[in-house]
């Protein structure tokens, strides 16, 4: 193994080191890499937007047969977004926002009810099939108790008395376990990214691994 001779690998390695220089303190090298990243993100989104959305879903269906003339309405509504460039007509942007945000809200209500509320509650119900063994019964009861006490912890419309205080204290135990697990997972994900970058520097760039 030897040091890389590819200009692209050198650029990637130098940019990686520039970002890591932030660990010492904020410096011009970090800011340079940060602004390159920002610009590239915008440029990338322009290309992806064009090739993944505008070309296949707007341009081609409208200008090539069979023409989907119904696209003219959302295009006209979408074009109102250009009102943002005019002080006189910037109120036009309310129309695409109204259609998109309110329409999306309407779609989300049954979806949220179905997936985030009913399915979650349904999965926690104590049904006979969950009591097949001592361990599964214990788990089912624990999940039910955890769900109820967590909900009680987030219930702020009543004073924490007559058992509510105790139940919310139990709820916070479950919440802390969940947050701890989520934190552990996040750390491991970031560490794996760090390992990936170190592998790139030592293996692909320097060739010492």
């Amino acid at each position: 193994m030897s040091i890389s001779t590819s200009i692209w690998v050198w650029i990637a390695a130098l940019l990686t080191l520039m970002i890591y220089s932030f660990l010492y303190k904020e410096n011009p090298f970090y800011r340079l890499a940060e602004h390159i990243f920002m610009g590239l993100s915008i440029g990338y989104s322009v290309v992806i937007l064009w090739y993944n959305y505008i070309l296949p879903r707007i341009y081609e269906p409208l200008f090539f047969p069979p023409h989907q003339w119904s696209l003219i309405f959302p295009i006209l509504i979408g074009m109102m977004t250009f009102g943002i460039f005019s002080e006189k007509y910037n109120w036009l942007i309310k129309y695409p926002l109204a259609v998109y945000v309110a329409g999306y809200a309407g779609v989300q209500i049954p979806l949220q009810l179905q997936t985030m509320i009913l399915r979650q509650a349904e999965a926690s119900f104590l049904t006979p099939d969950k009591f097949t063994s001592l361990f599964s019964s214990f788990n089912a009861l624990l999940i039910f108790a955890g769900l109820v006490t967590t909900l009680i912890y987030f219930y702020f419309s009543a004073k924490r008395e007559h058992g509510l205080g105790g139940a919310s204290q139990v709820g916070i135990i479950f919440i802390m376990i969940a947050f701890g697990a989520a934190f552990g997972y996040t750390v491991m994900a970031r560490i794996s990214l760090l390992i990936g970058r170190m592998q790139f520097l030592l293996q692909d760039w320097l060739g010492i691994m």
């Binding site: 920002m38 109120w91 309110a102």
Partner: protein, 207 residues
Amino acid sequence: MFIRRTLPILIAFCIGFAMLIQYFIPHPYSERFYDIVVQQWFITIYAFMFIFAYRSFFSHHIRKVKRRKTGYIFSIIAIASALLMAVGGFATRRGDFFDSLYNYLYAPLQATMFSLLAFFIASAAFRAFRARNVQATLLLVTAVIVMIGRVPLGDYLWRGMPDLIEWIMTVPSMAAMRGIRIGVGLGAVATAMKIILGVERTYMGGT
């Protein structure tokens, strides 16, 4: 005043309500309506919404360059990078040059940026994870178990570690997550209702 303020709210109510009730109407027309609005209208308008982001990015950086503000050179670099990626993508029709820009510039920068968080999480954890009470101790113990158990070290230290982590994730952690999800779902439904009924208008500029 009607066109500028009231009509957008009326349209929001109509489209929101229509999208809500179509879910409960199992008829081909209703399904077709859903397909047209979600597959065509939303995606088309979504594409135009990027104008907000591009305008914000370019106006911010161009203003900085025009006024020669501190660090304006970085704004020039940001604009140049955006143009390089965009022109590279269009000129080569997402060809090799665009792929190289993605693989050797964009992807490494993104991964490094996110990996940087590993260091900050470690320092934050050091301060936050002092076992001052039962709750903080639980958070600390669970996080440590999950972190150790997800690498070969966990299995090496104790054979039952992977099973313990599986149990933590599928029983106590899931119980709390379900409670949180139900709360999030109720909040989302309430916010969506406020948007449709015109109570929540901040997304239109607060009028």
